[in-house]
Symmetry: D2
Amino acid sequence: MNFASDNVYGVHPRIMTALADANGGTAPSYGGDDRTRTAEEKLKEVFGCDLRAFLVTTGTAANGLSLSAITPGYGAIICHAEAHIAVDECNSPEHFTGGAKIIGLHGPAGKITPAMVEKTLKGFIRGEHDPKPKGVSLTNATELGTIYSPAEVKAFSDMIRPRGMKLHMDGARFANAVAGLGVTPAELTWKSGVDVLSFGATKNGAMMLEAVVFFDLALAEEFAYRRMRSGQLVSKSRYLGAQMMAYLEDGLWLDNARRANALATRLSTGLRQFNHIRIPNPVQANEVFAVMPRELYDRLLASGAKFYDWMPDSLGDGIAEDEIFARFVLSFATPEAEVDEFLTLIAKG
Amino acid sequence: MNFASDNVYGVHPRIMTALADANGGTAPSYGGDDRTRTAEEKLKEVFGCDLRAFLVTTGTAANGLSLSAITPGYGAIICHAEAHIAVDECNSPEHFTGGAKIIGLHGPAGKITPAMVEKTLKGFIRGEHDPKPKGVSLTNATELGTIYSPAEVKAFSDMIRPRGMKLHMDGARFANAVAGLGVTPAELTWKSGVDVLSFGATKNGAMMLEAVVFFDLALAEEFAYRRMRSGQLVSKSRYLGAQMMAYLEDGLWLDNARRANALATRLSTGLRQFNHIRIPNPVQANEVFAVMPRELYDRLLASGAKFYDWMPDSLGDGIAEDEIFARFVLSFATPEAEVDEFLTLIAKG
Amino acid sequence: MNFASDNVYGVHPRIMTALADANGGTAPSYGGDDRTRTAEEKLKEVFGCDLRAFLVTTGTAANGLSLSAITPGYGAIICHAEAHIAVDECNSPEHFTGGAKIIGLHGPAGKITPAMVEKTLKGFIRGEHDPKPKGVSLTNATELGTIYSPAEVKAFSDMIRPRGMKLHMDGARFANAVAGLGVTPAELTWKSGVDVLSFGATKNGAMMLEAVVFFDLALAEEFAYRRMRSGQLVSKSRYLGAQMMAYLEDGLWLDNARRANALATRLSTGLRQFNHIRIPNPVQANEVFAVMPRELYDRLLASGAKFYDWMPDSLGDGIAEDEIFARFVLSFATPEAEVDEFLTLIAKG
Amino acid sequence: MNFASDNVYGVHPRIMTALADANGGTAPSYGGDDRTRTAEEKLKEVFGCDLRAFLVTTGTAANGLSLSAITPGYGAIICHAEAHIAVDECNSPEHFTGGAKIIGLHGPAGKITPAMVEKTLKGFIRGEHDPKPKGVSLTNATELGTIYSPAEVKAFSDMIRPRGMKLHMDGARFANAVAGLGVTPAELTWKSGVDVLSFGATKNGAMMLEAVVFFDLALAEEFAYRRMRSGQLVSKSRYLGAQMMAYLEDGLWLDNARRANALATRLSTGLRQFNHIRIPNPVQANEVFAVMPRELYDRLLASGAKFYDWMPDSLGDGIAEDEIFARFVLSFATPEAEVDEFLTLIAKG
């Protein structure tokens, strides 16, 4: 019963097979191979538009690199206060951008609103004494398992585009957002004004693979240099290309996400049956956040279940002293039986 | 006949198998898994000492991160003018170190000497107007397929250590150096005063894997933060650990290197038979550099052979207008028959 | 009636005279001159201890450079949410430190407490996913004209020192704090655990002059390089040394500060007479913050008075829609008559 | 007899007077004052064009900031191997640009040629493995007291402009170059394709003052943020504006430069009389470089003369073991009698 994170699970068998299949003979290195090129072409098909895609190995790198294309060191990026770029990446965005400010706003259910951003921008009244606002970064699905709809995304774009700001989407769990909403990848990105997307694959079945996807092609112009100088241009790139090809092939990426999302629904539905557990936010992707008695939390951990407690900061009314705000992440590979076993374990209490 | 680089070849079957074997069930992420821990322990065995090892995905990252532990932004690192950190990494060392100066010295056969470094240091007479010399970086095996012996390495250490400088070894082809010299990994590193090593695996059979290995444990103290903020802490770290375990298991890494080195010897021995080809430097690892008529070069490429021409800057007497300085890289996976086929092709000329 | 800032006033006549006096003949450049050396010696006398002082031209540079000696790019500095380093310096601390995180905490009256810092540190539970807390920066006098006492300062030091963190004091208005408290410079700094001080002079009578003062001598070790590479090593350094000598001579710096503080008291005493004006925080240095009707604010500006409205974020209960949170800064050079004139102007309302 | 540098002399009396005159009353800070604005207008007059000028306090900052507007961290700037930005600023250009590579080329008499730059650019054949060439920086007058003519400058611009590269001029001794050539400031800058100029004033009579002057107005667009975040926005900016106004008033800047240049000619003419002294490069500005016997050098220093020996690297044929390559810098304030006294001293030998 491991709900600690979606990255505790391994690689999807079809992706592992693709890696093995890629292993014969020689191939040009540093992105010059056929698989890397095909992966980019496949991404164009998936998103239904022209784009530029750069494969990298981690989500932190994808985010940092994406932001570096949007903001110089004297700029500011606005995001949710609990966004990965704000609190989980050890100043990586600052490193990649050369010192830009990451401004985290507090909003319920892991989400911010255009009004919040606008209010923040109104505080930037002192010219060069403030940093220059350069972009907004939305995490979708969010850190709290909720989702921004295309309309919500577009509202950000409509507000910031006239101000010369760019819209980044941290899509470490992009597949789960698309699957949860039942929209097309296009609708959730470029049709809603997203300029650059960190397209996650690792959490959803790849080994180590993310893509920086530019819908605003101008931003991609010298991006190859950025990737190289950050140590993210992989020499045997065919093994990134192979992962991405398999990930997209026959909709594997969405199938995986749908399965994980369904498990989250199954778990949350189960949890809601218990009076001493409450689920404050909607469950829209592959994560469930629940407030539960600390006593129960301790018992579950002692029984071998793995999951983390979470900062309750985003809960408007907080939690009680004897409560825990627990996070459960469901993966494409989580056995359904473990969800049921876990619910049974609680019931035994 | 592909001698373009050792990274055009794939992953050694035993490493690929190890990746597949690592794929069942769950494992802690971000380096908390058993395989990552075991990989570090195995490195201690291989080097016969206590050390700290951090797995990363590319050689450029390994180098940049290593140097960032040695020098602040106001420091300087001295290396060969053709070192990878000087000319092949798009300012990556500057990025990772926050702006340190990479000072490349010209020396024959891809090598520098302590005397050259000492002369350079003597020019640093103006206090804070100069950067502060913080380290020397030796590439071993070098960019020109030559090798520094333990005694040569130690001579650098003996000279710089009293000045508070550190010694880095870029070991993208470390295995080839160890195999070529017939020494122990310990003799070529910490016993010769190396403080931190970029321990390469990708070129020699891994998929994407390098390790930053600290023999000076103090340098490793907060290194985990450096790796994280550069986007090099892989979430599904078991797949790095698995590669490293297989790479070291039963001496695979040295077997691979020995095979590649032997092929280089085979090729160079063959090339030396031709009057119109000369090999200016000793062939000590898995690379062969040869001066040949441009006409021959064109014919070989036209016949489908793959290899690069190289900057002849390091050749004291240069090359003629109608000559090419060609590089041939041999891999653990290069078919021996292709070496022979290539020699036959030349002979046909 | 200009209360906009203490930097709208000029240079104290004795400092201007010192600059003119410094103008004859030749002097070694880049800090090698007698005046620069004497300035450092005088600072040792003023603080009653050994120290290292580095003269620079702006407060932003003094802060950024100070912090760069405390934290690497993967570190974090904790300060008040309205601290100059957090919101007034266009990411300058990030620039100088190579990307460190500046974490602003909200506290009343422009002040934070050790308890707040401790709570923040307790949230740093995820190893290298969080930045490494490296220091606390206290602004004294604060951005809201209040003061930390030596005991208050020491409480921070006592808490963070065992954690290996350093204590920085942004003393852009350090003189006003010392004068307001009636303590010695030593008591407010090294005796209370301050490791490095941005010792301000510009606001209090100098032309362009601040000093980075290290009480922790180890932090100063390679600081000359930091200053140089940031473009803050002035060639004709005698003109910085001369300013500092005159600033410290015969206690000019404290006389200036006492005068400015006294004017702030005079102004606040006067303002308190009006029922429609309230002064939420104690007036302890040379700044007065008052909540007043927007109508009055508009009338005063229209009458030619110069002062700024301020973010009311730090006021627990905020202000009403028709109110303004106004800031008045008093300088060593503010004519006393203008304070009285201003109060008369309000009374006329 | 102090020929150590032009910065060992003080401030021109007219500039000192201007500072004193600026000292009454209040003035807006951070560049909002009349003097700063007037200074910019005066620069437009001097250069006969529209431009944007930003006042800063040091030449190192002016250069670093200028370059940061031209190149991102993954870029490269090409200059002479002895340029101030390459060897005298402790990695400051790397700091300001976020890690760009400064590529120094060796050329006689302190000068490089477009052909040298072109050859270097031809070596950038490996895409993102190389940094992206973004600009050329010419020092004028050069570090060796020689001058680029407008035609020479234009030849660089003509070559790099089609490649999207920008042209920077390090004009720490710009006045000496203009005076030495007898051309207009316009001819030597924007009419010859210079995009941004570090316009020096400190060495030529100011206290601490340089201007970053943009002829390419697009480069200036967000430059105010760059200056601020580097700690170079001076609060009491009127004292920078006042210096610049006086510096430009009635051609003081060119008068000063002409006087210094004339003294250099006087000194070099005198030195050429001695058989044991040779002056390898033309003396075109305010510096004289002479090869002399080490014995003489020692005697002159012992007699109290102040000047530096210089790296003889730029001399094609080098110098003998018992020789010194000596630098003499003449200032607007150097007493003519000291030049004669110095020549007499040599003759006594």
